[in-house]
């Protein structure tokens, strides 16, 4: 748990005239779920996009598995073992569920055993295998987005607000699925605003505000310290439930 898989050191990101990330220092240990919390506009999504190379860091250093990836392009970062589930899910709605999955299996065909595991994890993936992804409900699209990210073994998955806008029953299903995924060798960096959900699966937590990390530590410590929750997030876990 203590070996760092992903490290951000003093990362700055500018988008046009805006200085979004202002020196982010973040360590994601290997294994388990690391959660990145913060209010809207704190820079959580920009952090994930900068790791993926979708925005280029203007300063600082990003290392993955001991190798610097700061200046690599997005396809190279993806091929190094990082999968990304963006906030808008990035589903290709004109393609079928099967075609979406086929594209995600970039190294060749899909492993039948892994596909069966995914279909067990997310039953709608099998049910609507040949349906257009555009006809899926919001929750099913999110399941497809996560399925696409895990169709091949990846060292790290970046997931941006997977429960956003979903009904409570689907949030529970998604949480259960992430909990199962956590038991595999995959490390998850989860951006969430739903603290109740995040605290139930997170091992470590970092809190962002105004483009930098204001707190980092074990999730259990944060959950146990109501004062810290209120100071960092303005609300306690009780208020989220």
């Amino acid at each position: 748990m203590t070996t760092p898989l992903l490290t951000l050191e003093g990362v700055h990101t500018h988008i046009g005239p805006y200085h979004i990330l202002q020196g982010v220092d973040l360590v994601v240990p290997e294994g388990g779920v690391s959660v990145l919390l913060g209010r809207n506009g704190a820079g959580k999504s920009t952090t994930l996009r900068t790791v993926m190379g979708l925005w280029t860091a203007s300063r600082g250093r990003i290392s993955f598995g001991g190798r610097e990836i700061t200046r690599l392009d997005t396809p190279s970062i993806s091929r190094s073992g990082i999968a990304f589930v963006p906030e808008n899910m990035g589903i290709f709605t004109d393609l079928t569920v099967a075609e979406n999955m086929t594209l995600a299996a970039s190294r060749g065909g899909m492993d039948p055993k892994r596909l069966a595991w995914i279909q067990d994890l997310f039953p709608p993936i099998g049910t609507f295998w040949n349906s257009s992804a555009g006809t899926l409900s919001g929750g099913q699209k999110q399941m497809l987005a996560v399925s696409r990210a895990i169709i091949e073994p990846r060292q790290l998955i970046l997931i941006d607000e997977p429960t956003k806008g979903l009904a409570p029953a689907i949030i529970k299903s998604m949480t259960d699925a992430l909990r199962q995924l956590k038991e595999t060798e995959t490390t998850i960096l989860l951006v969430e605003q739903n603290f109740a959900m995040a605290s139930s699966i997170g091992d470590t937590v970092a809190i962002m505000d105004d483009g930098h990390i204001v707190h980092a530590g074990d999730m259990a410590e944060l959950v146990a310290d109501v004062d810290l929750q209120e100071r960092l997030m303005g609300l306690s876990l009780e208020a989220h439930q």
């Binding site: 993926m52 979708l54 392009d73 997005t74 396809p75 993806s78 091929r79 990304f84 963006p86 808008n88 990035g90 589903i91 290709f92 709605t93 004109d94 393609l95 075609e99 086929t102 594209l103 995600a104 970039s106 067990d120 994890l121 997310f122 039953p123 709608p124 049910t127 609507f128 349906s131 006809t135 899926l136 409900s137 929750g139 099913q140 696409r148 029953a169 689907i170 529970k172 299903s173 259960d176 699925a177 199962q180």
Partner: protein
């Protein structure tokens, strides 16, 4: 997960929505039927319909590359007409060079001459597309206004180069012997060349459809049209795909140039920019990025142009603009828009 699995559900599409989705497919037969009723004489109608379909398919050949380039790369290429003109001139030169084949009383040799002209023109315009993308388009990705300016600049440079190599005058292009004249179907006279154009256009449409629907590269293009950023995040080098598609689109414009030159039997340096008005109308009617929409739009434009030219020549000048206005009032994004998730 399985025990607490949510019930699978698919959002219901109403009957009216499903019919509305298929409605554009009925436009072409509806227009043909309306043409038959307005023209009255079945033989005249058949002649005009074949001419309209041939014209439409030639415009489709030129427009299909442009619409995919726009959909995938978000590039407004006003220089697309340059590839049409260069393709026509290269094709003309090859036909002159193969004069023996083109004038021989042999269908096989005549078609071989056209095929060689097409292949060389497509190769030249494909390579020209490579240089165009690297030098002119690549520095202005994501900047539409600059794209319009620099691609128009590229078009002007290409036209001037045609003046340098082939001179400033319009050049007459003779069709190979067996493609001249007409055949009679009942009382309807059908130009042989138009039948060839229909055949090539249909084959091209089916091949493009097959590539887009049934191959991995087609899958990547369709995904890239919708969300190129996500394709990159899945590990694919979209920029290489951009270049490949741009070259393919340029080669298709070159093919269209050869076909259009043989159709008009006269080629000029600005023939590409002249036809671009129709090409843009077809792309807009079809919906940006959609090959199927482009195909339907091209057939509508071809048929309407020919029917109105026969029925009311003055109206023919504005008929395609009118068609575009009506289609956009019905479907503001075109017939089958490919929405970009950005």
């Amino acid at each position: 997960m399985s025990g607490s699995a949510i019930k699978p559900r698919i959002e219901k599409v109403s009957l009216s929505d499903r019919l509305a989705d298929k409605a554009p497919l009925l436009l072409v037969p509806a227009l043909a039927l309306a043409g038959l009723l307005a023209i009255g004489n079945p033989s005249t109608w058949l002649t005009l319909t074949v001419a309209g379909v041939a014209m439409g398919l030639m415009v489709f050949i030129m427009a299909s590359g442009l619409t995919v380039v726009f959909g995938l790369m978000d590039v407004i290429n006003f220089g697309h007409g340059a590839f049409v003109s260069v393709g026509a001139f290269v094709g003309f030169s090859i036909l002159i060079w193969l004069g023996g084949w083109a004038s021989a009383p042999s269908v096989f040799l005549n078609l071989a001459a056209v095929l060689v002209a097409i292949l060389v023109a497509m190769t030249v315009t494909g390579l020209m597309g490579y240089a165009f993308e690297r030098v002119i388009v690549m520095p202005v990705y994501g900047q539409h206004l600059k794209q319009i300016l620099v691609t128009m600049g590229g078009l002007i440079v290409a036209q001037q180069l045609i003046y340098v190599f082939w001179g400033p005058d319009a050049i007459h292009v003779a069709r190979p012997q067996s493609l001249q004249g007409s055949i009679l179907l009942g009382n309807a006279a059908i130009e042989k060349y138009r039948l060839v154009a229909v055949g090539i256009g249909l084959v091209l449409f089916l091949v493009m459809r097959h590539i887009l629907r049934s191959t991995r590269i087609g899958l990547l293009v369709r995904a890239g049209v919708e969300n190129s950023e996500m394709v990159e995040a899945l590990g694919y080098r979209v920029k290489r795909l951009f270049l490949l598609v741009f070259m393919a689109g340029s080669a298709l414009a070159g093919l269209g140039g050869v076909m259009w030159g043989l159709y008009q039997e006269t080629i000029t340096a600005h023939m590409g920019s002249d036809i671009m008005v129709l090409v843009f109308i077809v792309v807009i009617i079809g919906g940006l990025g959609s090959v199927e929409g482009c195909f339907i739009g091209a057939l509508l434009v071809g048929l309407l142009s020919n029917y109105t030219a026969f029925l009311e020549p003055k109206v023919a000048l504005v008929s395609t603009i009118g068609l575009m206005v009506v289609i956009l009032m019905w479907r503001p994004q075109g017939l089958y828009p490919v929405v970009k998730a950005k």
